[in-house]
């Protein structure tokens, strides 16, 4: 893998620019929603008073930032207002951004990735993807496979969702679209066996990356959660240390239940990273802030559209900047 690291040392300027533009575009709607609300909240006010804070709380909560994180942010701003005595509402956005960035920086989950390069020096690098029904696991896998493929890596997808009707077909179509390897044992087969053999397949076929899909399941179904543990163990049996990453896919439109999902999935499979999907259409980019604050597990990727290329590496700073960019520009 070090070979690849040399080859793809740094992203060139242009890619970075293009990516930022796309993130901005993808979040355009969330931004508009967020800022419209904030400007409404402070309209006609000269200073930050209790009423403005109340409105701000309202804005944060309705953006799905979540109760706990909202309270944290409000407390910080309140403290700042008390300290600086007189704060202009014009400064509010700046302060808010500051506080949010700081809040997120204080968390333990600062290990962020720079690009799509597999973070582990192993061949193959193995990833297992989990989540509740309908969050976009298979689509995210397809997009991720595309990114790995673009880096010149040989990728194999393992069809571990053997339960939902036509799930195997769906993944296979993605594999064909991306042009990567595909391993399946068909529908209604034992997903743990699929995972085991997918790793085997990756080793035999000299793959750099193996991504194993799993069936969507509600985190309240004890048996299905135990099945996940088994799937994970079966990979570890084939190749100790795998899966290197267990990625939980969360739907950005999900409310407070996302937190419970993360808890339960972590208990079953030791989730190591998160992917946040459907961020483009929700008007609720705020959920990324709530999750970054509440979890020690880092958000690694964000989905911002249905196209194959619309998956990005998540960078807190960039995200918050993007969130607040409109203000700087104006």
């Amino acid at each position: 893998m070090s070979f690849f690291k040399k080859m793809f040392g740094k992203k060139d300027e242009e890619t970075i620019k293009a990516e930022k533009a796309e993130l901005d575009k993808g979040l355009e709607r969330s931004k508009t929603g967020f800022f419209d609300k904030i400007s409404k909240a402070v309209a006609g006010k000269a200073t930050v008073d209790v009423e403005v804070l109340d409105e701000l709380e309202n804005v944060l909560i309705t953006s799905d930032v979540g109760l706990e994180t909202t309270v944290k942010i409000i407390d910080r701003i309140e403290a700042r207002v008390a300290r600086d005595k007189y704060i202009n509402t014009n400064e509010l956005n700046e302060i808010l951004r500051d506080e949010i960035v700081q809040l997120l920086a204080e968390n333990n989950n600062t290990q962020e990735i720079e690009d799509f390069r597999p973070p582990v020096d192993s061949k193959p690098y193995v990833m297992m993807v989990v989540g509740v029904n309908g969050v976009g696991k298979t689509t995210t896998i397809g997009k991720l496979a595309y990114q790995f493929k673009e880096m010149g890596l040989k990728v194999a997808l393992g069809a571990g969702d053997t339960f939902r009707a036509a799930a195997v077909d769906q993944l296979e179509i993605w594999a064909n679209r991306v042009g990567c390897e595909f391993f399946s044992k068909g529908m209604y087969t034992d997903p743990a066996a699929v995972a085991y053999e997918a790793v085997q397949y990756g080793i035999n076929n000299d793959c750099d990356v193996v991504i194993v899909d799993t069936a969507g399941r509600l985190h309240t179904k004890k048996n299905l959660m135990m099945e996940l543990t088994k799937i994970k163990n079966s990979m570890n049996k084939k190749m100790p240390g795998t899966p290197h990453d267990v990625m939980l896919v969360l739907d950005a439109t999900t409310g407070q239940n996302a937190i419970e999902q993360a808890k339960q999935f972590t208990a079953a499979t030791e989730v190591t990273c998160l992917a946040l999907t459907k961020l483009d259409g929700t008007a609720k980019g705020g959920v990324a802030i709530g999750i970054s604050d509440q979890f020690k597990i880092p958000i690694k990727y964000i989905g911002i559209g249905e196209g194959m290329t619309q998956l990005q590496v998540f960078n807190k700073r960039e995200f918050v900047d993007s969130f607040f960019k409109k203000i700087e520009g104006s």
Partner: protein
Amino acid sequence: MFDNLSEKLESAFQGLKGDGKLTEINIAQSVKEIRRALVAADVNYKIAKEFTDKIKDQALGTKNVLSAVKPGEVMVKIVMDEMVELMGGQSVGINTSGKPGIILISGLQGSGKTTFSGKLANYLKTKKKKSPLLVACDVYRPAAINQLTVISEQIKVPIFKDEENKDPVQIAQNAILHAQTHGFDVVIVDTAGRLAVDEHMMREIENIKAGIEPSETLFVVDAMTGQDAVNTAKAFNERINYDGVVLTKMDGDTRGGAALSVKYTVGKPIKFVSTGETMETIDVFHPERMAQRILGMGDIVSFVEKAQEQFDEKEAARIEKKIKKNKFDFNDFLGQLNQIKKMGDLKSLINMIPGMSKMTKNLDIDDKAFSKVESIIQSMTPQERSNPELLNMSRKRRIANGCGHNIHEINMFVKQFDQMKKMMHKMSKGKGMQGMMGGMKK
């Protein structure tokens, strides 16, 4: 399902229980708690505020009239009444009139449209004696058509699809013609998931609706949706003016605030709830029952209905006779277990029983809860199954080897079975079948 919310409301009311009567102070306190609980349950912030303001007014108004009743109970009643009103009073069925009746299914990506389409077809076929036709109009998502095909095979409902055609309006129109000439009386049109902000896709669903003039347009919402539920519901409603809402993934532990918000915002009734991945897990939405559930009062009506559905009268009479004669055996026990299992997900069943949701919160109850007991019984000979008293030490040892559990577990089970049998025999003199359910819970 709404456990968390009921718990929080319960604790909000607990503050009231000790006090003699409703006062402005304790009302304000509990109202604040209720609002918090609602917001944490993903009820839209604005709606939660309006809702609790209403409750506050009502509570202040009633304090003198009902000073004889405990304040906690008064609050529960007020919240309950308001909740039922908020969620839409009476339950509303779906309109399948027309030749054929046309049902259009819409919603966001991953909300569960395709699975729900299958469930609805199955429901119309088995419960309403209709002959439905599924129509695959999701021409975008990879394998979406295959998914509906597999489902149609599962429930033995025909499907209309055209993999060459990329125009969903045309596909739907052709399907309706096909239905008319082939004797189908309802068509269910499954469409692609789309974001409310995607202009192109929203225009498409508008066109589909205009092109087929459905008798019923349904909007499918994931029950786990957050604050955004209100916006999405509103946006879809503005474009396609749907007739009703479907809540999916209700078998999770979501607090389901979306249910409360959607009706309030768009004024459209919630018609179905979906509670699992098998094709039978679809329920008609009952606002009053849901309110009871939210308030932790259980949903005994749904429970009894479910039980009745699976209830075989002859079998029940036979078993009751056996219990009376104290002849209840392992075969009967196994039969009863299977009947309960047929009723659906155990945890959601038990939560329907008033007061149970609290007790089972930390309990692992799932569909495999019976598997140990089943494996023990299945390792018995037919003779042993019909004559429990035959079981001696050597037989038990053989059973233990057969089922893979140790001898203590076998002993424990047999002992429990005996106790249960005695208990049922005793009860049979009084209550009959009703008492049985209690005995089965082990």
